[in-house]
C-alpha cells in the first residue's frame, strides 16, 4: 500500500531564490546585467575583451568568467583592461549556478558598477536552466557552428533576449547562411534582438556598443 503526497515544488527553487536576491541587489544599484552563453569557442571572451577596450572609459564594468578548469578567460579580461574581473572555476560543472555568482559578487561590489556581465561556461544546453539574476541572456553563435543551431538548442534560444552572430569574417569559408540562422532563431523566439559582427575585423561592433550604452542608460534612469 502506498499513499501519495502532493507537492508543488520547483526543482530549482533554491537557485531561483538566490538569483532573485542577486537581481534585487543589481537592480537596487542600477546595474545592467547580462549572462553570456554559447558553445565553447564562439567568441564570448573575445567580445568581452573588445567591449572592455571600447567602453571602459565611459562606464564601470564588472565581469565574472566561468570556466570548467582554468582562469584563462579572467586573465584575458584583466589584460584587456578590466578592473573588476573575477574567475569562477566550476571544477567540472557544465554551467554556472546562482550560488557561484552570489559568492563572488561581493568581491566585485556592484554598488560601484554600471554594467555586470557573466561569461557562462561554454555549453548551449545546461546553462539555460539556471537563472543567475541577469536582466537578459545573450546567446552567441559563430558562423563555423552551422546555421541550424537555434533549432538544435531551442531552450537556450527561447530563453535568450539577444543573439550575437560572431565571426562573420569567416562567412565565405563556411556554408552558413545568415538568412537561415536568423529565420531559425526567430522561429524559436520572435523577440530576439540580433547582432552580426566580427571580433576579428571589428565589423558590426559599433552597433553592439551603442546598444550596450542604451541598455546602461535605460537601467540608470529606471
Amino acid at each position: 500500500m502506498t499513499t501519495t503526497i502532493k507537492l508543488e515544488k520547483k526543482v530549482l527553487s533554491e537557485n531561483d531564490k538566490l538569483a532573485a536576491e542577486i537581481r534585487d541587489e543589481l537592480t537596487k544599484n542600477k546595474v545592467a546585467a547580462l549572462n553570456f552563453v554559447s558553445s565553447p569557442g564562439s567568441g564570448k571572451t573575445s567580445l568581452l575583451e573588445k567591449t572592455l577596450q571600447a567602453l571602459r572609459s565611459e562606464m564601470k564594468i564588472g565581469m565574472v568568467a566561468g570556466d570548467v578548469q582554468t582562469e584563462n578567460d579572467a586573465k584575458r579580461l584583466i589584460s584587456a583592461g578590466g578592473e573588476k574581473i573575477k574567475p569562477i572555476v566550476t571544477g567540472g560543472s557544465c554551467h554556472l549556478d546562482a550560488k557561484m555568482v552570489s559568492k563572488v559578487l561581493p568581491e566585485i561590489d556592484s554598488s560601484d558598477l554600471d554594467l555586470f556581465i557573466i561569461e557562462n561556461v561554454g555549453n548551449l544546453v545546461c546553462p539555460s536552466s539556471y537563472d543567475l539574476g541577469e536582466d537578459m541572456k545573450v546567446v552567441l553563435i559563430s558562423v563555423t557552428e552551422g546555421d541550424d543551431k537555434p533549432l538544435k538548442y531551442p531552450s537556450m534560444f527561447r530563453r535568450s533576449s539577444v543573439m550575437v552572430i560572431n565571426k562573420i569574417d569567416m562567412l565565405e569559408l563556411c556554408d552558413f547562411s545568415l538568412e537561415t540562422v536568423k529565420k531559425n532563431a526567430l522561429q524559436i523566439n520572435g523577440d530576439l534582438k540580433i547582432f552580426e559582427l566580427s571580433c576579428r575585423t571589428g565589423e558590426g561592433l559599433e552597433e553592439w556598443y551603442d546598444w550596450l550604452k542604451e541598455l546602461v542608460k535605460g537601467k540608470r534612469e529606471a
Binding site: T3, K10, V11, S128, S129, S155, R158, Q187
Partner: protein, 121 residues
C-alpha cells in the same frame, strides 16, 4: 550533463520533505518536465539512478510526465500548442506569445509506502 545537478537538487528536496514530514519509504517521485525545459528525461533518470544509491532513496523511481509546449498569443489572445518548435500563433501568425506550459521542472508528488499495521497476538 546538468541532469546530475538536477537529480541532486531533487534528492535534496525530497530528503528535506522526508525529514520535516517524518515520512516513510519513498517509492516514487512524480516530476513534470516541460518539453522545452532543457532537461532530458532519460539523462535525468540515468543521473538519478546513479546518485540515489548513496541515499535512502536507493529504491525510489522517478515518474516523469513530459509537458508539451503551449502558448497564448498576446495579439489575439488565443491559446495553442507549439508544434515542431514553431513559436508563433497559428491563428494570426504573431510571434509575440506568452508561454503557458512547456518550461516546467517541478516535483509534483511523492509516493510513500504505508507501514503495515503489526497485528497483535
Amino acid at each position: 550533463m546538468h541532469e546530475l545537478s538536477i537529480a541532486n537538487s531533487i534528492i535534496n528536496i525530497v530528503l528535506d520533505e522526508i525529514k520535516t514530514k517524518n515520512l516513510g519509504e519513498v517509492k516514487a517521485i512524480g516530476l513534470k518536465i516541460g518539453a522545452i525545459s532543457g532537461i532530458f528525461p532519460d539523462a535525468l533518470e540515468f543521473g538519478f539512478d546513479a546518485i540515489k544509491l548513496e541515499t535512502v532513496l536507493c529504491k525510489t523511481k522517478l515518474e516523469i510526465e513530459v509537458i508539451p509546449i503551449a502558448g497564448k498569443c498576446i495579439n489575439c489572445s488565443k491559446s495553442f500548442e507549439v508544434r515542431e518548435l514553431v513559436f508563433s500563433c497559428p491563428h494570426c501568425q504573431s510571434t509575440s506569445i506568452k508561454m503557458e506550459q512547456g518550461e516546467e521542472l517541478d516535483i509534483t508528488y511523492m509516493e510513500i509506502a504505508e507501514e503495515l499495521e503489526v497485528e497483535d497476538g
